[in-house]
Amino acid sequence: MRYIPHTEDDVARMLRVVGKPSVASLFDHIPERLRAKRPLDIAPLDEARLLAHLGELGAKSRPAVGVTEREGAALSFLGAGLTSHHVPTAVDMMLMRSEWYTSYTPYQPEVSQGTLTAIFEFQTMVSELYGLGLANASMYDGATAAAEALMMAERLTGKHKSLLSYALHPHYTDTIYTYLRSQHGHEAEGYAPCVSFGKDGRVDQGQLSAALSAGDVGCVVVQSPNFFGVVEDVAAIAKLAHDAGALLVVANAEPLAFGVLQSPGAVGADIAVGEGIGLAIPPSLGGPGVGLFAARPEYVRQLPGRLVGETTDKDGRRGYVLTLATREQHIRREKATSNICTNQGLIALAFTIHMSLLGRRGFTELARINLSLSEHAKSVLTKVPGVSLAFTGATFNEFTLALPRNAFDVVKALAERGIYAGVSSRAAGLYRAETPPSTGGTKLVAPDDRWLTLAVTERHDRSTIDRLAAALTEVLR
């Protein structure tokens, strides 16, 4: 075993020092009733065969992202919570330095300045992108970050009712409900009814103000750009929420949007959460990603998750440490702001490196490229007979088409042509027509099964957009 150094001689000698007759005797104190009754039945593989076995498993999927289509990747327009951007090679090459990936939580700052400094930079970037003065060292993902934000808002306002935009990513909604159920049992959905969206694809402000009018709402959660790609009028929503004594949580699955859009913080969000995977690493079936979490600085004591702060060493040199740990479980135990411990450090690092590479100028330019290509795609695809835009609201790099027939069938037909055309909002695991979330008495627009949401990014160009249009035309014919 190449990872276990012990030779027979080593073991014999160590046992003599330990004073035990055999390796088995080290386990003698485990009571019989608890012992495994038979040896493990898992076959070992040498490295070459191991790689072949995994390679064969891998070959059973057709990736959405690859270097070339000749290597087998499809032409993908998938977004829906994970819009993969081209992450430069320099990022992964850096992640492979073992000082990054084989270290752990920087408990000992004198030998962890690398990780600590990088997290401090990450916090700064998240804070900048979301326009809020405070950001943590990462959450598991966008969905759990949203759930934690809602719970943080509950703590801050002392109110237990929230409102969720129905155009929030269904996974986020589901995760919030899971978390809420653990607090409130099966009545959870009543604690967080949904607010519908209008023909423009945005939160229905009329419904929202009605739902807020009782003054019992602690927090409103909207996503922008939302699940359908539409940019919400965050400023207006913030005003409504604040006027009703509620906090506004803005969720976001595409931080790049804030290269061209006002940051949530700049237009009134109190907490902003998001998902950084698409700007950090390849899609990897959606995980590991990195949950982004930013808030107004005055809320720092209620913030979940780790924080790195600046300090100095004995000689007065600037350095970084984990700080304000009294919010956290290992000090506060049942009084902690969250139970989170291990977070998504390495992906946060990837995000930080990529943001550094893009830089101020590149980030903005990349956002503009996405916007321009997406607008172009809209104009090309809506020329396909029977196809129109589902919503009138402005979008960034993701938008929703209304097709003349069931979008899921179209997606399947296009997949056979090597094109992953996007997501039908009625696909498995998303909106369930049968079990809509709590409406809190208001009427929800059921997502149409002819809606197709797709993302157009710098990975595409005029010709790949034309290919999609041509294939779509063919399939719809």
């Binding site: 057709r62 990780t115 049942e334």
Partner: protein, 511 residues
Amino acid sequence: MSDRRIPEVHPVDTLNLLHTEKLIFEQGAPGRSGASLPPLDVPAIDPASLFGSMARTEAPLLPEVSEVEVTRHFTRLSRWNYAIDIGLYPLGSCTMKYNPKVNERTARMPGFAGVHPMQLESTMQGALELMWRLEQCLIELTGFQRVTLQPAAGAHGELCGIMMVRAYHTARGKSPKKVLIPDSAHGTNPATCAANGLEVVGLKTGADGIIDLESVKAAIAAHPNDIAGIMITNPSTLGLFEEHLGEIADLVHEAGGLVYMDGANFNALLGKVRPGASGVDVMHINLHKTFTTPHGGGGPGSGVVGVGERLVPFLPTPIVEPLADGGEGYRLDYDRPQSIGRMRSFFGNFGMFVRAYTYMRELGGEGLTKATEMAVLNANYVRALLSDVYSLAYDKPSMHEVVFTDKRLKKETGVQTLDVAKRLIDFGYHPPTIYFPLPAVTGGAGALMIEPTETEAPETLEHFCAAMRAIAVEAIADPSIAKSAPLNTAMRRLDETKAARNPKLRWTPTT
């Protein structure tokens, strides 16, 4: 500023090639960028024309540096870190074992890394099969009925597990509120209960370091009909096997509660104990500990959760199932009416699944059993080499880790745990976990929780123990050395109080 710029420089800003490093925001020049972007072959859109006042007018303050500067910055920063690949990293309860390089290769295979979670299931069969196979391996190891892979880390697994416990009681029309948790438990255990609206009933560790049956009985008796369950870490964070687990499980079950086992220390049990067959109802495992997925400077991890029959209906959605019609292949099952729901977006930290599966398949059953055996042997070897100098917290046989206190050392020299930890750095080691677990730090003692793992050779342990011994000897001669340690590092002891007193949590430009 003059065109001709000569900064002030000092040789002391570098120690053995390690440079004092500015933040990336403090480097570069306006307009510089390390981006490589495609040319736009469609008309450029002006954001203001689309978004009006919602268009951003000033770009975020991101760094302005070239790829060269980025690469150097993060390369240089990385060299300020200790890591497993540099040496023994005996952080107790963290299982800092060697992370096989082959894992990194398989996780990056295009058929895994390139798969988007919203692809059609028919186009992601390999990923689903890997998840199914990983679950089968975990079932073989744990004796559970099913395992959910969704939770993103240990604490997330705990949350998921306790949610299922709650859902189980709710489904039976009950809502017990109390969870028994020993004082040696990791902070995530009580925090998890709180996040689930449950209340912690503390169990004091017995004189021998393990949970004593009587205290469980007493706690149950004190809360009739209100026992949701128990959270028990086995081996405990004291490195001891909870020998009464079977009886405790019986008691809790009789009281209507369920048994949650914190499996963070599962590395001590591979091939030895199958918790699912030993009275445990639900358990999380940290793939980033026992199964070598890298710790990544603090994640990502994966906190998969195994459950016995009773909890299967409550597993989060979706779960992977073989195709129902006997066809070859796998599908995602969302149709689970009793499910607690989703724990997160998508399916879990898939990249970690690939690594953990790679590792398990390389070692196989025999190799995994050997891993546990050598992990336990190593812990006991460290114990044998140090227990004449450091005070053993408890005398019971050690499993995967051993906990010492500074009782004697502190009394004799004034040097305490933190000093020992910092001085170890001077000898080239990452310190063990310190001041944890709680039972070991009673009476002002400091605890050193040493988990060597099986990937360390005896010579390495001997060198480490020699350093630990040298520190103790040196402390007698001159306690001031350890107290001012580390001395051989570019960064000296950091002022954590100052950081908390006046928190500076992000960079801001100085104008």
